[in-house]
């Protein structure tokens, strides 16, 4: 077999891909390679974390984006057809992956959340969510290489082994892309990064007015947690910042505790926190789907329940 490739974007996610890539390369007895932009220091870091070889792509000018590497990666993939290419499911990663897959005529499992090697069929079995998270679609790629984009935090980061050796190979330059970046505006976060929070209190449509978000905030404060919300709260009502949205098209979170207030539990939303350690919910609709996804549920009016919770927690 010709190996498993990882296209690196940021370090955090590359380490996560190195974890699953390493497992699969051990299992299939193949090499694990990383494609990385310019940074030799980082290349050694990745080798210690499991890469057998790191291909260094030449630096990009200010106005070029990662997608400028696509032609070079395609050339390499056509020369030395790998078995599997892993790419982080970030905005740039998802775009690159689909375009590479199109050019080398192969299949791509988008936002893959489970990836195993089936010995009997010598194929990678990949799982992803469909229908807004209501369904799990299990796929195999019938063409080589198989490709997958993997969402952040799907795997634990790979562990470093001090002194682990590997090859570093420089790749030649490429012609620049006609797509040019004129300006980069770094987002000023209005609030804390919810993916980092241990405890999240999530506001749903059961909260009736913008002012009532304060009630949820009080509860979050008592818990020493952060506020998050469902998509309509941010996008339709604009009560909270968009980066606080949890769900399929928002943040994927894995807190110790997710506590939903007036959250009905549409699958698109639940998908974003299904790996939380503990899930709790307050909703007056006892048939709300959130209760099927929760460990602990209070069937009741949040306006009645939340003040009682705050009082109880303060005891």
């Amino acid at each position: 077999m010709a190996g498993i490739w990882i296209i690196a974007e940021n370090r955090e996610q590359t380490l996560e891909l190195l974890r699953i890539g390493g497992e699969l390369s051990t299992k299939t007895g193949t090499r694990l390679s990383v494609f990385l932009s310019q940074d030799r220091e980082r290349a050694r870091d990745y080798i210690e974390c499991g890469a057998d070889e790191v291909f260094i792509l030449p630096p990009l000018t200010e106005d070029q984006s990662l997608d400028a590497y696509i032609p070079r990666i395609i050339v390499e993939a056509q020369q030395d057809v790998p078995d599997l290419i892993l790419i982080p499911a970030t905005a740039r990663g998802k775009d690159m992956a689909a375009r590479i897959a199109a050019r080398i005529d192969t299949g791509l499992c988008s936002s893959c959340m489970a990836l195993t090697f089936d010995d009997n069929h010598a194929s990678f079995v990949m799982e992803r969510l469909a229908y807004g998270g209501a369904a799990v679609q299990k796929v195999v790629c019938t063409t080589r290489p198989a490709m997958a984009t993997i969402p952040p935090r799907t795997y634990e980061p790979a562990d470093a082994v001090k002194g682990r050796q590997g090859q570093i190979i420089n790749l030649p330059a490429h012609s620049p892309s006609t797509v040019k970046i004129l300006e980069k505006k770094v987002k000023e976060r209005e609030s804390k990064d919810i993916t980092e929070s241990r405890l999240l209190v999530c506001v749903g449509r059961g909260v009736e007015k913008k002012e009532d978000v304060a009630l949820a905030r009080q509860l979050a404060d008592v818990l020493h947690g952060e506020l998050a919300c469902t998509r309509p709260i941010a996008e339709e009502y604009h009560w909270l910042a968009e980066e606080l949205c949890i769900g399929l098209s928002g943040a994927q979170v894995e807190p110790d505790l997710y506590l939903g207030l007036g959250v009905s539990g549409q699958v698109q939303h639940v998908t974003g926190f299904r790996n939380a350690k503990v899930i709790a919910a307050v909703n007056k609709d006892e048939n709300a789907p959130i209760f099927k996804a929760a460990d602990f549920g209070i069937v009741g009016d949040l306006y009645d329940v939340v003040p009682k919770l705050i009082a109880e927690l303060k005891k």
Partner: protein, 379 residues
């Protein structure tokens, strides 16, 4: 038999649903509570061509057929029966009468701004002493030079306080009896017209209703709609159309009552189980769903007959009679299902129940519908 709606009809239902979710649902409680005319909502309805729906495009309308119009009234009433009625009266009766009986000049002058939703229309027939007994009306008009001079009082005029164009039924030859009434087009600016205050009603509160007082009110002779003496016949035609609209409004009310009852009965737990699993409640909901289907089919059938240019007077009366009585009966049940919560302001079923009552009264009481229907079948 073909019970399939066209793709256009399905899309129009979907679009009206979305319109209601975005613009009607957020204000429905408030406009009921304050008896407020939602001018901003009417403006939005005009932008989407809803206010001229059944009128051909050459006269400023959208050119939809009667069944498509019924679907729109139904969906709008499901969110707000008051606004549904405003639409039904304006487009289904007033615009329709201009289309059926107006001269080319009248259509250009009055129908186009009405169908475009720039003006609202009203239909002024009922008088303080003349409800179902229209012949007891007293308002009259005499010719003076080039003008009609109108004297009398109309009441319960829907859209009275907000309309720009009124169709007013007056005696021009009382001695001629049923052939003595005529229909005059009265603009709001006509000298001698005074529009009364909006009535405080039990339900349908944001639909505007008032008295209209005519004191030597002058309109030019060209404002006669149709011919002299045709007024009563034209009013009956207006009612036939209007009844399909009321039936559609009732279907919307019933659908809303069912939606609310299903949602609440699954949520509300008593004796350890959602009340929907108690047979007493489940059967109320079964009856409600059945009545909704029956009302809907009667209504769509009447609209379909009108589309086919077949007589539909009896079927419109049947649809209106059945749908209005079903709406009243089942909104009461919906409040019952909601218990004390349903009796409080803010519960949608409470509004539905108040709104439903008028449907058994206006555009012909249930008793009047039975007169029309029995008159037809016993002929």
């Amino acid at each position: 038999m073909d019970f399939m709606l066209t793709e256009e009809q399905e899309l129009i239902r979907q679009n009206m649903r979305e319109f209601c979710k975005n613009f009607v649902d957020p204000i429905a409680v408030e406009i009921d509570e304050n008896s407020r005319h939602p001018a901003e909502l009417l403006q939005k309805l005009a932008e989407g061509d809803w206010l001229g729906m059944p009128i051909p495009q050459e006269y400023g309308g959208a050119g939809a057929d009667q069944l498509t119009f019924v679907i729109a009234v139904e969906e709008l009433s499901r969110s707000c029966a008051s606004t549904g009625f405003t639409l039904s009266t304006h487009a289904g009766i007033v615009c329709m009468m201009f289309l059926l009986f107006g001269t080319e000049d009248q259509k250009k002058k009055f129908l186009i701004p009405l169908a475009k939703g720039q003006h609202l229309g009203a239909f002024a027939l009922t008088e303080p002493a003349a409800g179902t007994d229209i012949m007891a009306a007293t308002a009259s008009a005499i010719i003076d030079g080039n003008d009609y001079v109108i004297n009398g009082t109309k009441t319960f005029t829907t859209n009275g306080p907000t309309a720009e164009t009124y169709l007013v039924f007056v005696w021009t030859d009382k001695a001629a009896g049923r052939k003595g009434m005529s229909t005059l087009i009265v603009p709001r600016s006509a000298p001698g017209l005074r529009v009364g205050e909006h009535f405080k009603k039990m339900g349908l509160r944001s639909s505007q209703t008032s008295e209209m007082i005519f004191k030597d009110c002058r309109v030019p002779r060209e404002n006669l709609l149709g011919k002299e003496g045709m007024g009563l016949q034209m009013a009956m035609t207006g009612f036939d159309h209007g009844r399909i609209g009321i039936a559609a409004q009732c279907v919307g009310i019933l659908q809303a009552a069912l939606d609310e009852s299903i949602r609440y009965s699954k949520e509300r737990v008593q004796f350890g189980t959602p009340i929907a699993r108690h047979q007493a409640i489940a059967w109320m909901i079964a009856d409600m769903a059945t009545a909704l289907s029956a009302a809907r089919f009667l209504t769509y059938h009447a609209a379909w007959l009108k589309n086919q240019n077949k007589p539909f007077s009896k079927e419109a009366a049947m649809a209106k009679l059945y749908a209005s009585e079903a709406a009243m009966k089942h909104t009461v049940k919906a409040v019952q299902i909601h218990g004390g919560y349903g009796y409080c302001k803010g519960a949608k079923v409470e509004r539905l129940m108040r709104d439903a009552k008028i449907t058994e009264i206006y555009e012909g009481t249930s008793e009047a519908q039975r007169m029309v229907i029995s008159g037809n079948v016993l002929r």
